[in-house]
């Protein structure tokens, strides 16, 4: 343990986690202090929580190489060594708990993020080799065409997928496309479909400034850090709200967007755990549905809210950044 926490990479692992916690708390304090509610502004603040811990330790060490010394620790605001060498039971130090947290976070990253992404990519490759079902009814194509009227997106880049589930997603690559299921076209009204398309156009427009991709790369680098995982999820949730704002600005119809989002909420039955849920691994599924529903509910509430701040780099941002940088310097 001593060799690890005294080493450069050991200190890096410990301090990225502590710096993430402090940055996360201070960013939430900034939200309260300046009453920040605009999703794109919140996203900028949350990005700090992901970015700063990755770079802070090497920067601090480069500026002040003796930061890891015993003398600096004596004067520090928080010395992690004290907590890590506390004995829990039978001489086992608290550091072991820290190692377990890191290991669990890494495991969650692999199971919940890396594997599904890998499987999804494999599935996409397999699907691409299969012939596409082009038996799409003329009525549905016409409905799509009507929904796209007035939106800055060409109809030929909308792919209709034969699927009775409600599904809508976009490929935000070099040749952006929107994929919509037949089930969704049938379920939504033209106004709702237009709002949903406008939301996807928002995603496509925002890939020109790929903050989320950059944040994801940083999050992958901190695969062991649970705070980075939570903050990235919050960042992604804010992204949905930013795209909702874009959709409203494109359509001018918040009610249609709100009702379209409502359609995606899971069935109440899915939110109730069945008696045999344990056997079928349904607990995880119920939690997932519940979280998804919470996000959608929060989006619906946010759609109606007037935005108080502009999405600009204000003094509040730089003050928060400075406070995080200064406080984290004294956390070793």
């Amino acid at each position: 343990m001593n060799t690890f926490i005294s080493s450069y990479w050991g200190m890096y692992a410990v301090q990225t986690m502590l710096h993430s916690i402090v940055a996360s708390v201070l960013v939430d304090c900034a939200f309260i202090a300046w009453n920040i509610g605009t999703p794109c502004l919140k996203q900028r603040f949350r990005f700090l929580v992901i970015l700063l811990p990755v770079v802070s330790f090497p920067l601090y060490q480069a500026l002040y190489p003796r930061r890891g010394d015993a003398y600096f620790r004596l004067e520090s605001l928080l010395d992690s060594n004290k907590w890590f060498s506390l004995e829990l039971w039978h001489g086992v130090p608290l550091f072991m708990g820290f190692v377990v947290i890191l290991a669990l976070s890494a495991l969650i990253f692999i199971i919940q993020e890396f594997l599904p992404m890998f499987l999804h990519m494999r599935e996409q490759m397999r699907e691409a080799s299969e012939p596409l079902d082009d038996a799409v009814e003329q009525v549905l194509a016409q409905k799509v065409s009507q929904a796209l009227e007035g939106l800055p997106f060409d109809e030929q880049f909308v792919e209709i997928v034969v699927d009775e589930d409600l599904s809508l997603f976009s490929d935000t690559g070099l040749n952006p496309r929107i994929y919509v299921s037949t089930g969704l076209i049938k379920t939504l009204t033209i106004e709702q479909l237009q709002a949903a398309f406008a939301h996807e156009i928002g995603h496509i427009q925002r890939t020109r400034r790929p903050v989320l991709i950059f944040a994801y790369i940083l999050r992958v680098l901190m695969f062991y850090n649970p705070i980075a995982m939570l903050e990235f999820r919050k960042l992604a949730q804010e992204e949905e709200k930013v795209c909702d704002d874009i959709a409203i600005s494109l359509t001018g119809n918040p009610a249609a967007l709100s009702s379209a989002v409502e359609m995606f909420r899971p069935d109440p039955e899915d939110l109730i755990q069945s008696p045999d849920a344990k056997k079928t691994g349904g607990i995880a599924s119920t939690i997932e549905h519940y979280n998804h529903d919470l996000l959608l509910k929060s989006r619906i509430l946010s759609i109606g809210e007037p935005r108080q701040d502009d999405c600009h780099w204000g003094a509040s941002y730089f003050v928060t950044l400075a406070i995080i940088v200064v406080i984290n310097f004294f956390i070793v």
Partner: protein
């Protein structure tokens, strides 16, 4: 409108500073809490006896030979039992009042770098030889405070010893010799 915006930013700043103050107090409390539960974390001691008694340390090696011009007792004593055992003693030069001698004993190999206030930054010469039947490493060069200095390290009974003197190696060898028991 502009005045309203500035007012909002300033009132936000005041609230933010108050929240930051609370966060700092919380962090300071978190730094202090482990000391309530357990003893042995790094802190400064008034005397070697005080460190020995508080940390229940049996052996703290102190040089029997002490070059002229160095002040006794140590000007600074740092000791800890956690996360590893370490004792640092600093002695000042009577004339310059600058730290001139550092004696470190630690149970963790390679930890002396984190325990030295002055470090040997430019290592000009390095030689390993036997002193009183112990393998010692003598390094001579410049310290990071710009002074000429020499450092000797050895291992004994599971503890790692480092002695650094801001002077030529001759006095250092005599100091180390007085600490090693054959």
């Amino acid at each position: 409108m502009q005045i309203h915006k500035i007012g909002k930013t300033l009132s936000g700043l005041l609230l933010m500073l108050a929240l930051v103050f609370l966060a700092v107090v919380f962090l300071a409390a978190m730094n202090w809490l482990p000391s309530l539960r357990e003893e042995g974390f790094a802190r400064q001691y008034n005397s070697i006896e005080d460190a020995k008694r508080t940390l229940k340390l049996n052996d703290i090696l102190v040089p029997a030979y002490f070059p002229e011009g160095l002040r006794w007792p140590p000007s600074f004593i740092l000791a800890q039992k956690k996360p590893y055992q370490a004792v640092v003693m600093e002695f000042k030069d009577a004339k310059t009042k600058e730290t001139s001698l550092i004696v470190i004993q630690s149970s963790l190999s390679g930890s002396d770098g984190q325990l030295q206030r002055i470090r040997l930054s430019h290592d000009r010469e390095e030689t390993r030889y036997r002193l009183k039947n112990k393998s010692v490493l003598l390094q001579v060069g410049m310290c990071d405070n710009g002074m000429r200095c020499s450092k000797m390290t050895w291992q004994d009974n599971g503890l790692f010893y480092t002695v650094l003197l801001t002077s030529s190696p001759f006095e250092l060898i005599r100091i180390a010799e007085s600490m090693i028991h054959s």
